[in-house]
Amino acid sequence: MVGMTALGSEHITHIQSIAQQARTAMNNVLDGKDHAVRTALLTLFSGGHLLLEDVPGVGKTLLAKALGRAVGGSVRRIQFTPDLLPSDVVGVNMFNQEKQAFEFRAGPVFANVVIADEINRASPKTQSAMLECMAENQVSVDGTTYRMPQPFMVVATQNPVDMEGTYALPEAQRDRFTARISIGYPSAAAEAEMLDHHAESDPLASTPAVTTLQEVTHARDLIRHVEATAELRGYIVALMDATRNDPQIALGASPRAGVHLLRTAKVLAVLNGRAYVTPDDVQQLAVDVLSHRIVPREGEDEQLAASLVSDVLRRVPVSGR
């Protein structure tokens, strides 16, 4: 094992290769969705959670499942409905007649990759139970704390079109997701191929596990030691500050947003073969990481929020010099 403070080039190469294999594997499942695949991997390595906002049938679930498969982890899917209870998510203590004792029956949230499908359909109570798992990486049931398996990543999906009878995630909860992306419709070619392949076989079946959960966890530990100089951190702070002082933005990015941005930037740096973060990394990720956390004055609109973040990027000087 390497000293925890040093991030050698061999580690970087190793992480790069894991990520690249995972990416290739997932790309085989999701044709032409490299951006989504890449963001999903970045989120995984940064220890965050992903929010997919898209119409049904574009492959949200497929993405999550492919991710789980690729890293050799367990994948559980929770379909959120208005009548879903918190205990349905985290599990319950049940009385075991044989042992004459309560024993914990883990809910579907105990998996490496949890798909929270249509999370906006659940009641706020259930949503917050889910979000607690995400934030704390643990579950408390009747005074007993159960740790989530590692790595643990929630991929929540929201359907932006059919909003009737839903409880859209409030900003405070959206903030817990590292990134929000839309998968979007595939290109014509990709869709044609999809029809060709997926009609006859389950693409997931052929997805190999390219790495192990241990390796992913180890990679996460290493990535934490990627260098972010004071100057770089200053740049991130300046970005955060700019979103808060933008007259077109009603609610700017939270401090947590900065933390998430830096974490993902560190992953990106390593995946680009660097042991240090540069503003390029930050700029590449800022839209995905920030736009779901800010509230434009003009009303909530993904496109507008994304363009506001881009404006901020264009405005904030990279260097004091």
């Binding site: 990627v226 260098e227 100057e231 000087p317 990279v318």
Partner: protein
């Protein structure tokens, strides 16, 4: 620029920021440079002084200090600590005592008394500054100031050049020295004074390169020479005193003529002092008055000499111009007078009209070409002894009577009358001159009227010749020369005759064969009227006092009762025949004589023209210099940036290689802004690189990448740089970077495989910047390139 000049010296770049500076010249070379430069600079002061007594002690001071500096600096310890300067200060103090107040140190040992003496001398020197004008005699006070001052400057320059290696700064000290002659004797400066200071500056600039590359020395000398010459030529024009001084009225600067002799007349006359003011020997039978000056500006209250441009080159000893308005057919007698001043301390030199040359006086006696007044430029008449050659203009009455009318525009001052002048003056003039057929007749009529017996000579009249005083005088009919001359001048003007008042002394009392003695009682004023062809001729309306009889031409031909008068002991008039006789003998001489002064004045005109040419050239240089200033600043900035010295002192820039990279980046940004391409500070290094690199050749592109690499490492790698991973490498096509967006294209990373490469050397960076400039020029066009060079926006616009 070749790229191979510097790298060899550059190789250990971080260790020595001054690595570009080559081997240190020997202290002796530097000291020799300093000494020579200071001597040259001191020479430029020679324009301030009339003699050279100040120079030997000053030169000795410079030489000893430079010698001591070289000696001390050749000891490595002294050199390292820079304490040489302290020793030099002490040495300068002692040396100043020996050079200036050695007499106060009988045993050759400095005493407190000697120090006090030195300070007293310095104080006296300061007084001298206030009481003299350049060129001045170098008094002991001046010499002391120079010895001490130049000694101090020498120490500072030596320290700057030898210890601090900053010869450029010493230019300011030279400038300081240069300001002295410019302020005190701007008009006495000649080209060789410029040359001396420029040479001194040049030498200092070159001092560090004397033993190194000839090429660089040449470049430096070109820049330094251009700068020095520009400054030298421009300063005398740029600084106000020189420009304004010639415009100042005669009265203003110091002593040149606070004195209006006309106003002193009453005092002089009333004192009744007959102690001699001056004596002279003259062969002139007319015995004209000795004129000090003439006053023509009349504002209704006082008569003032008309201000004239003090031109230090109008030296009376070189001859004076031909008197105004004198035509060649007017009889003229060449006369001379040997004058010895006994008791007169004035600025005006007494001389009969019209003086043509003065001998026996120093060159600081200058003249006004209009009035032929001779004044001392900082000297007084005290005990002066001189010979005046003058042209006695002796027109005939007929000639004056036939003189055509004058062009009023040429005689604005001499015809001017105050608007509020009582009408009685002009009315009386008309009345008295009724029936006159010419201006001459009118003038004679006026003069005769004053002399007719209706007027009484009296010193009790008010000492004024204001217009109201003249009107009173015309009523009271009592007065003395001031009133008579004032009244006649005013009345002549009202008749259209240009008139002014001559002020001076009457011929005085004869004391022997052609010898005269003049006392204050002979102080006098008389009208001078202008007639075309004859110029200014005097009249004599004052019927008593020291005044004699009117000159022959001022006597109407019918009333020649004095025509046969012999040349008496108190000569007053010349028979007109004599005048006529004199004319033929004088006339042939005239053309030749004319040539003399005219040539002289021609030569003077030339030198004035040369001066003007200098001034214009200087002005042009100044304009060019001001225009080129932004470009020069940018050049300097670029050089400092590319060599990594831009941020020294600001404390924000690291030194060495990194400083060069940062400097280069700043320079590239500035260049981009200069070209109007802007510089998006929200873009990352690599984003900039990507857009800059597009059109660069492989060499320049590689240098740019290395600069970006160095900067990225410095800014963002932090501790990771130690770990060795500096370069980005995306192992597979596409990598994890994303195409499009705000950052670089993702196809492979050009920064790969560059581990361990150094920041390019300064010369390579220059090449890179030049390549970028070419690229920008291609993109924006040549006009933008010119604009970028001359009006670099980055100088005043940020980001």
């Amino acid at each position: 620029m070749s790229t191979e000049t510097l790298p060899a010296q550059e190789h250990p770049p971080v260790a020595a920021p001054a690595a570009q500076e080559t081997a240190e010249p020997s202290p002796w070379v530097l000291a020799a440079c300093t000494a020579t430069a200071m001597l040259l600079a001191a020479l430029s002061l020679s324009s301030v002084f009339a003699d050279w007594r100040w120079f030997p002690p000053t030169a000795a001071m410079i030489a000893v200090l430079a010698l001591a500096g070289a000696l001390l600096r050749s000891v490595p310890a002294m050199r390292a600590t820079g304490s040489t300067v302290l020793v030099q200060f002490v040495l300068a103090g002692v040396l100043a005592l020996y050079l200036t107040v050695s007499s106060a140190m009988p045993f050759g040992v400095p005493t407190p008394g000697a120090v006090a003496e030195l300070f007293a001398l310095l104080g006296a020197g300061v007084d001298d500054i206030y009481s003299t004008t350049a060129p001045a005699a170098s008094t002991p006070g001046f010499t002391a100031i120079l010895v001490v001052g130049i000694g101090l400057i020498t120490i500072l320059v030596d320290g700057l050049v030898s210890d601090l290696r900053a010869p450029k700064v010493s230019g300011i000290l030279l400038l300081l020295l240069w300001v002295i002659p410019v302020l005190l004797a701007g008009t006495d400066l000649a080209w060789y004074h410029f040359a001396a200071v420029a040479g001194a500056f040049l030498l200092l600039m070159l001092s560090r390169y004397l033993s190194t590359s000839v090429r660089r020395a040449a470049a430096y000398s070109a820049v330094a020479g251009a700068l020095a010459l520009t400054l030298g030529a421009v300063l005398p024009i740029a600084l106000p005193p020189v420009a304004q001084r010639p415009q100042q009225p005669l009265g203003q600067p110091e002593d040149i003529s606070v004195v209006n002799p006309f106003l002193d007349l009453r005092n002089d006359l009333e004192q009744g002092d007959d102690s001699p003011v001056l004596e002279y020997v003259s062969d002139d039978p007319l015995a004209p008055p000795l004129r000090l000056t003439s006053v023509s500006a009349f504002d209704g209250r006082t008569w003032m000499p008309e201000p004239f441009d003090i031109d230090p080159f109008a030296v009376a000893a070189d001859g004076l111009p031909r008197p105004d308005g004198l035509s060649s057919d007017t009889p003229v007698a060449e006369r001379s007078a040997d004058v010895r001043i006994l008791g007169l301390d004035g600025q005006h030199l007494p001389a009969p009209y019209a003086p043509q040359s003065i001998s026996g006086l120093e060159r600081r006696w200058i003249f006004d070409p209009e009035t032929l007044t001779i004044v001392g430029n900082g000297v007084l008449t005290t005990d002066a002894q001189y010979e005046v050659a003058y042209r006695s203009v002796e027109p005939t009455a007929e000639q004056l009577a036939e003189a055509p009318a004058v062009d009023a525009e040429e005689f604005e001052t001499e015809l001017a009358l105050p608007a509020d002048m009582p009408s009685v003056i002009a009315d009386t003039a008309d009345e008295v001159t009724a029936g006159s057929r010419s201006q001459w007749e009118a003038a004679v009529a006026l003069q005769d009227w004053f002399r007719s017996g209706e007027f009484e000579y009296s010193l009790s009249a008010p000492a004024e010749a204001s217009s109201s005083a003249i009107a009173d005088f015309l009523a009271d009919r009592r007065g003395y020369c001031v009133q008579f001359s004032g009244a006649m001048t005013a009345m002549a003007r009202s008749l259209g005759i240009p008139a002014r008042i001559g002020v001076g002394f009457t011929a005085g009392r004869p004391t022997g064969e052609g010898q005269y003695r003049v006392s204050l009682q002979e102080a006098h004023a008389w009208p001078e009227l202008y007639f075309e062809g004859a110029g200014w001729v005097r009249f004599e309306p004052t019927p008593g006092g020291p005044a004699g009889d009117p000159p022959p031409w001022a006597v109407s031909s019918g009333t020649g009762e004095d025509e046969e008068a012999e040349e008496t002991a108190e000569p007053t008039e010349e028979p007109s025949e004599d005048g006529a006789e004199a004319a033929p003998s004088a006339a042939p001489e005239t053309p030749e004589d004319e040539a003399g002064p005219d040539e002289e004045s021609g030569a003077e005109g030339l030198s004035a023209e040369t001066l003007r040419a200098f001034a214009i050239a200087g002005l042009v240089l100044l304009v060019l210099f001001v225009l080129a200033l932004p470009a020069l600043l940018r050049l300097l900035q670029r050089r400092l940036r590319l060599t990594g010295r831009a941020g020294i002192g600001a404390g924000t820039h690291p030194r060495g290689e990194l400083a060069r990279a940062e400097g280069t980046w700043t320079e590239i940004a500035a260049l981009s802004r200069d070209f109007g391409l802007g510089w998006d500070r929200a873009r990352t290094l690599r984003a900039h690189e990507a857009s800059l690199i597009a059109d660069l050749d492989a060499d320049a592109a590689e240098r740019l990448r290395r600069v970006v690499d160095a900067l990225e490492g410095a800014r963002y790698a932090g501790a990771a740089a130690v770990g060795g991973i500096r370069t980005g490498a995306a192992p597979e096509p596409g990598g994890m970077t994303e195409s499009g967006g705000v950052t670089e294209p993702g196809d492979g990373d050009p920064h790969a495989s560059r581990r361990g490469q150094r920041t390019p050397a300064a010369a390579e960076l220059t090449g890179l910047v030049r390549a970028l400039r070419r690229d920008f020029t291609r993109r924006r066009g040549s006009p933008a390139a010119v604009r970028a060079a001359l009006v670099p926006a980055s100088l005043w616009k940020r980001g």
